[in-house]
């Protein structure tokens, strides 16, 4: 079924067993983003430790795509530096905007390549990007604090 391209195993797994989906007690920055067209919400907390490594936790309510995407992203970004996340971030956004033409670089995206099917469904791209846009917002704020 065509739908299986969208709902890949990895996505449904992350949806059912999300990672880092528990807001930590401490954080440097907290952001809250909503998708106004459907009401999905995410709260994302970000801090950088002394080495500049990311500690990211989140919580949210939403569809499998938005929640799985947050979970996969958190898994990818935790422990990395902001610089290291930049190419992953870009590759993911490019993949989402590809209208189904790109498959995504698995070396860069790892589990996040599972979202390649999403780009064929214009209404769902925002779902997949919800957490990523929240992260972008938080990372700008956290950098502002460091300076």
């Amino acid at each position: 079924m065509q739908l299986d391209n969208l709902y890949q195993e990895v996505i449904l797994d992350h949806y059912k067993r999300p990672e880092f989906k528990k807001l930590s007690e401490t954080f440097s920055v907290r952001v809250h983003h909503v998708n106004p067209s459907c009401g999905d919400e995410i709260t994302l907390q970000l801090s950088l430790d002394m080495q500049g490594e990311i500690a990211l936790t989140w919580d949210g309510i939403g569809c499998s795509i938005s929640m799985a995407s947050a979970s996969v992203m958190a898994g990818l970004f935790n422990g990395k530096s902001l610089e290291q996340t930049a190419p992953i971030f870009e590759e993911f956004v490019t993949l989402m905007q590809s209208k189904g033409a790109a498959t995504g670089d698995e070396d860069v995206l790892e589990d996040a390549v599972a979202f390649s099917g999403v780009s064929k469904y214009p209404a769902r791209i925002k779902c997949a990007l919800l957490a990523w846009m929240a992260f972008k917002d938080a990372s700008v704020q956290v950098q502002g604090q460091v300076k």
Binding site: L3, E9, C38, G39, C127
Partner: protein, 417 residues
């Protein structure tokens, strides 16, 4: 069973000739968002452009005359459809514009006018309003210093009118509410609300987006003061809506948009207004769309709103009964058919509405998912989103059965993986 022949009716709607998602039959259950269009409507719009196109109310030539006749003819059809006077019908872009027009015009009514809204006055709405009948009033309250109050929704999805005397106070100027909820399907009882509103000197504004397309409406019998609906939900084209208002109120109300066609005379420093409805129709209007709406209402009349309503109720019963048999389904809104229409929102345990909608779409079934532009109501229901099926004359039993089956299949798909 009804002897209503939805299958024959579908043949008059060209969109049902196409398929969706790799050859699937289109099962359209999203008429609450917008209805599909019969060929007569598409033809009427196209015919206007092909034969009569000219700016209405302007120009001395034959085409301008014909265009004006067609446009004003459409106004007459709308007026008859609502059992209203022809000069009480204002064409707008959609219901949203109708309601904003009202909110702005009321906000600039002269101090001497009974319609004037000021600090200390009250505007009453309900918790089940579509954003289009919520934000204009919220913003009018903010602009004028008036107080916004609302009727809450009870657990069954009906308005809680138990405190009506406290909600509609002596200082209430405006009561704006929906006739039928676009989320719950609830049809609101108007008599008590109108009675109380009129006793305190308030006007009643009815958002009839979800009722005008589906039931016979007589504005005189209803007793409201203003009524708004959108053409595109009533088999008509997009880009045309209606604001109906009592003639004495329209006469008292200042215009909202200024420009051509709405004036009586103009100098460099002042202007006076044409009588209603012209004073509310600045600029060249959506002529072809108004003509298309006229064709749509004629078409609805031919089939008969009673018959359409009965058909929708028959399908609604089948849908609710079917959903109730599914233990994982929760219906938001009244389960009995008393004072409800063919809009049914529901949730399925452990499946987010977006995912359910996506799965149904893969089966050719078009439903709406999300907050349906009624965010406060969703909060009240304790959900971020629901799935909504909304019915119309071209739906048939097999559409309902496909939906029920689709929901069950989605449970297997998302649960079984």
């Amino acid at each position: 069973m009804t002897n209503f022949n939805a299958r024959e009716i579908r043949k008059e709607f060209p969109i049902f000739d196409r398929t969706v998602r790799e050859g699937k039959r289109l099962i359209y259950l999203d008429s609450g968002a917008t209805s599909q269009k019969p060929r007569v409507v598409i033809d009427a719009e196209s015919h206007f452009y092909s034969f009569s196109n000219a700016a209405v109310h302007r120009g001395a030539h034959q085409l301008a005359e014909e265009a004006t006749d067609a446009y004003e003819g459409a106004r007459k059809i709308v007026a008859d459809f609502l059992s209203a006077e022809v000069d009480e019908v204002v064409f707008t872009k959609n219901a949203t514009e109708s309601l904003n027009l009202l909110a702005y015009s009321l906000g600039s009514a002269k101090k001497e006018s009974e319609l004037h809204v000021t600090a200390g006055d009250r505007i009453v709405i309900t918790e089940m309003e579509h954003h289009a009948n919520l934000i204009p009033w919220q913003q009018l309250a903010l602009r004028t210093g008036a107080e916004l109050a609302w009727f809450p929704v009870d657990t069954e999805g009906r308005l809680d009118l138990s405190e009506i005397e406290k909600v509609i106070t002596d200082r209430t100027k405006i009561v704006a509410l929906t006739h039928q909820s676009n989320v719950l399907g609830t049809i609101n009882p108007l008599d008590g609300i109108i009675g109380r509103a009129h006793r305190v000197g308030a006007i009643v504004i009815l958002d009839a987006c979800q009722s005008v397309p589906h039931m016979s409406i007589n504005v005189k019998q209803l007793g409201v003061d203003f009524l708004a609906f959108s053409g595109h939900k009533s088999l008509g084209p997009t880009g045309v809506g209606v604001l109906w208002g009592r003639s004495e109120l329209l006469a008292d109300l200042p215009p909202f948009l200024f420009g051509g066609s709405m004036i009586e005379s103009v100098t460099m420093t002042s202007a006076t207004w044409a009588p209603a409805p012209r004073k509310f129709e600045a600029g060249v209007p959506n002529m072809a769309q108004a003509v298309g709406l006229g064709a749509a209402l004629n078409y609805l009349n031919e089939i008969g709103l009673e018959a359409i309503h009965d058909h929708e109720m028959f399908l609604t019963q089948r849908l609710i009964t079917g959903l109730e048999q599914n233990k994982s389904v929760q219906i938001f809104g009244p389960r009995n058919l008393e004072m409800r229409g063919g809009v049914v929102s529901f949730g399925v345990e452990d499946i987010h509405p977006h995912d359910l909608g996506q799965f149904l779409d893969s089966q050719g079934i078009a439903v709406r998912t999300g907050h349906h532009c009624a965010w406060p109501l969703n909060r009240k229901l304790g959900v971020t989103a629901t799935t909504r099926a909304s019915l119309y004359l071209y739906n048939e039993e097999s559409d309902i059965d496909a939906l029920l089956e689709g929901v069950a299949d989605a449970q297997t798909y998302f649960g079984g993986k």
